[in-house]
């Protein structure tokens, strides 16, 4: 049974229930399926997409994306391709398998209780695994996916989280929020959040470490809401989750036990290894002719995250062995910023490092060695970098002129000496 077959069954069972909401538009499962059918014909006949073909779909935060996503699955195209931050500064294409989608969907359904009638609010970008993966359990159970354009418009978020009524039943809501978004809500919307005390069934967080104090505060504001801290990545899938509403004291760094379709082990250097059907199919490498070659994942995936398992089998995260900067759940390779900055006239050398931020956790800072006679113009450099990096969250907020960038004996930049 393919993942799309689960969706087809839901359509048959709940044709008149709302499937997806975005920008004030709403489609029932029957209407969604009709649009999916039309789109699959168009993709086959006009774009000549075939079963088994790898197809990179541009992500748009709207219903059209959902329709195309389901239509590609109906055709049997291999369209579940997400790009992750590569350590070299170049994004890597990750291909997910159909088996992995079912396993990840079931992991979320079993662990958090996705069900028919639940409205799940997506506030993060759908081209990132955290928000994207929620389409799986929602459409497998007959829930409603409510897509928002980020968290800039807080009124839209609170409207979406309020219960809606269909089939004379009051539908509760749930959402996925990165720790920085939760901190933002606690800081600037605590009272509004508290008014939703009986409306939000659960909130999942992940993608970045969450402070125990924030977890505690969220529990106090929403005492009737189930709260989960999840460990997942594009490569591994949804691995573990820690229901921190259940335990008396909150365990710092805990992400809970492995889920139904996941296995976790710790390598000799303390690195977390994940196995099971949730894993990606592999990395897709594009050759010179634009053809994709699959580099299969193997039976186990080494994550670059460090941690340990306690006697109850719960995973605890202790750090990361890679150099990524985690900006409110979005991972940035500092090399990508440095490569871009080196093209700016007057910069002789540079180093991008993380600095702490009260809401986002970390933000990038750029240390710069300037040519003699050149002065720092932060605005000009930032504007140059946005042209190269294209996404604002990647552009450093802080800049500092230094005499030189410290190097190791092998000539590489001594990044660690700046991150203590």
């Amino acid at each position: 049974m393919r993942w799309i077959d689960y969706v087809a069954k839901v359509v048959e069972r709940y044709p008149d229930d709302p499937a997806v909401i975005c920008h004030g538009e709403q489609l029932t499962y029957a209407h969604l399926w009709e649009a999916v059918g039309k789109e699959s014909l168009r993709l086959r006949d006009i774009e000549h997409i075939q079963e088994g073909q790898c197809y990179v779909q541009t992500c748009t935060q709207d219903i059209a994306y959902v329709v195309r996503f389901l239509a590609l699955h109906l055709i049997g195209a291999r369209c579940d391709i997400l790009y992750t931050t590569g350590s070299t500064g170049k994004p890597k294409a990750v291909l997910l398998s159909d088996e992995g989608m079912i396993a990840n969907g079931e992991n979320l359904i079993n662990a958090m209780g996705f069900h028919h009638g639940l409205t799940f609010v997506i506030c993060g970008p759908l081209d990132h695994f955290g928000p994207w993966s929620k389409m799986l359990p929602v459409f497998m159970t007959g829930g409603t996916l409510h897509i928002l354009d980020g968290l800039k418009d807080m009124d839209a978020l609170f409207d979406a989280l309020r219960p809606s009524t269909f089939a004379n039943v009051e539908a509760k809501s749930a959402t996925f929020l990165v720790p920085s978004a939760i901190r933002m809500l606690l800081q600037f919307s605590r009272e509004r959040l508290a008014k939703l005390v009986d409306c939000i069934e659960f909130i999942e967080t992940g993608a970045a470490p969450m402070a125990t104090s924030d977890m505690q505060q969220l529990r106090e504001v929403l005492p009737n809401t189930r709260l989960y801290n999840t460990y997942a990545s594009t490569e591994t899938g949804i691995v573990c989750t820690y229901p921190y509403h259940l335990t008396q004291s909150i365990l710092q760094g805990c992400v809970g036990p492995a889920m139904k379709h996941s296995e976790v082990s710790i390598g000799p250097d303390g690195e977390i290894c994940v196995s099971g059907p949730i894993l990606m199919a592999g990395y897709l490498n594009e050759d010179a002719d634009g053809h994709f070659q699959l580099e299969p994942v193997g039976k186990s995936f080494q994550t670059s995250d460090l941690g340990y398992l306690d006697e109850e089998g719960r995973l605890f995260l202790t750090g990361r062995s890679s150099e990524f900067i985690n900006i409110g759940g979005l991972k940035l390779s500092p090399v990508e910023v440095e490569d871009a900055a080196m093209g700016f006239t007057g910069i002789l050398d540079c180093l991008c490092i993380p600095v702490s931020h009260p809401v986002m956790g970390q933000v990038p800072k750029l240390l710069i060695v300037l040519q003699e006679g050149v002065t720092l113009n932060k605005k000009e450099i930032a504007r140059y970098l946005i042209e190269k990096l294209t996404e604002t969250w990647k552009v450093p907020i802080n800049y500092e002129v230094v005499e030189e960038i410290r190097k190791m004996p092998n000539g590489k930049k001594n990044r660690k000496s700046y991150i203590m």
Binding site: K152, D155, M184, F188, S189, P358, K378, I386, T392, V395
Partner: protein
């Protein structure tokens, strides 16, 4: 006050054109949060997400008006 706010925000949001009359459109959620944090810290005023409206965040002048209103409410 306007120049003080400009200097504070220019430092925190180097990509944003603070002279724009469509400032809200230029901001993402981090930008909105940064403005709320910076102004509440600097002026000792209470701001919440209801204040982050397109009207209040339309321009530097509308930010000044927001701060003045909150300061007056404080007294």
């Amino acid at each position: 006050m306007k120049e003080k706010i400009r200097i504070l925000l220019e430092d925190q949001l180097p990509l944003v054109d603070l002279d724009s009359e469509t400032l809200y459109q230029e901001l993402d959620s981090l930008g909105v949060t940064t403005i709320l944090m910076t102004l509440s810290d600097e002026f000792g005023i209470l701001l919440d997400s209801r204040d982050a409206t397109p009207k209040n965040l339309r321009s530097l002048d509308s930010l000044v008006a927001l701060v003045e209103r909150k300061l007056a409410e404080k007294q």
